[in-house]
Amino acid sequence: MVVLKRILFVVGLPAVLFAGWFFLSEGSESFYSPPLRTILTAFGDTWKPDRLLADVVPSLLRLFAGFLLASLIGIALGVAIGLNRNLRAVMEPVLEFFRAIPPPVLVPVIMLFAGIGDGMKVIVIVFGCVWPVLLNTVEGVRAVDSVVLDTARAYGLTGPARLTRVILPSASPRIAAGLRQALSIAIILMVISEMFASSNGLGFTIVQFQRSFAIPEMWSGIILLGLLGFALSLLFRLAERRALRWYEGLRAAQRRAG
């Protein structure tokens, strides 16, 4: 019963939206917004196993590499900046400067240093999705409860232990918020990076469809992207649930009212 309800919650709204799209687009004559029926047919025809293997797998590998690197860099840098006021003052304008530069125009510069291979694409992904992790980590670290910090100091929890036992757990809800945002940005940047100097990948394929006016196929690619994002976020949610059980409990215990 509970499981059923949960499933209903998950698929309810998407089902309604898709049904709405299906019926509204049924008679569509517009070249660029074909009926959903056509798109779904194209979806079946396009995303066969070999295609998935050839395009989705490389994309995912880049995505994971980029996301992982961005998480590591974001958290490490974020903790350092969050803990040190002077470092924050020095770095903030520089970071803000880079943050405001659109990845597409930075590609030439990145290509300069990293060539045109997967390295470049991973760097583009890192470059784009490190920011939410970084910002959230900084804020999370700065917001650690003062009594908690005092307790840690008083009991000699210093150095690495302070970091892993106090700062990171305390900031983890915010870090999770950042990671989650980074994940979807990573997907977006995966697509953008594959628009440049690429010969495979989901992004490349979607752009290729778009350029070759295979519009139903393009839409099917966008849907696949959405599904991918959804699946990844589900995975992330599971991991988050595990890691932040204390936090959810803390909040829910008193809220759910038993």
Binding site: D145, V147, V148, D150, T151, R153, A154, Y155, G156, L157, T158, A161, R165, V166, P169, S170, S172, W246, Y247, G249, L250, A253, Q254
Partner: protein
Amino acid sequence: MLEVKGLRKVYSSGNREVEALRDLTFTVDNGDLVCLVGPSGCGKTTLLRCISGLLTPTGGSVKVNGNAVTGPPPGMAVVFQEYGRSLFPWASVWDNVELPLKQKKVPKARRTQLVEEALDAVGLTGTGKAYPWQLSGGMQQRVAIARAVAYEPETLLMDEPFAAVDAQTRADLEDLVRSLWQRLKVTVLFVTHDIDEAVYLGRRVVMLSSSPTVVQDELVVDLPAERDQLHTRADPKFVALRTRVYEQIQLAKKGAAVQK
């Protein structure tokens, strides 16, 4: 030995400036048990935080065994008044108590023993797996006490540690502190707002005036070392001492009222 000399602390945040401590001087010998009483808001917590090196004083000095305190000195355990916020919500009760021991590099077996004993001592046997936020207020406070006890400190600072527990548990915990102090020879500085408790527990009681704070009076509790809840509290000497403390505190409050 713990020496506090001319301690002064002014909080200034933006528009507000509060002189929490004006000029505090007193010493606590090694192995002594000193209770600190004073009206609410007089600066007891502030003083404790200065002593534990968590707060930099505006003036004066704090020395532990002759060394000026700049950060938390080793071998010191603190029980914070904000017990709820002082426990780590992401760690279970057991982990909360064990963590400082890990940090102290106590071997695993000994750690388990210490944690178990400490939880038993405060009456929390079997709650190790719960998270702090699954406990009642008084239980949380006892976890904080267990953490300090398990740490086996040389100096123990406690800030109103029994505020949230019931009378019976409180009595038990008072006896726990005394036995701990006698057994392990720890130096204890105990902040409380309960005058009876101060007199019952302490070998000395330091009374603080209300803000701006100085030491109003000091008094040696010349009750026998063996105390128990029933007889000691009935002792006429006890009653006399508690009355004296009470009067001093009344005076402190009046003084403040006049100053205003």
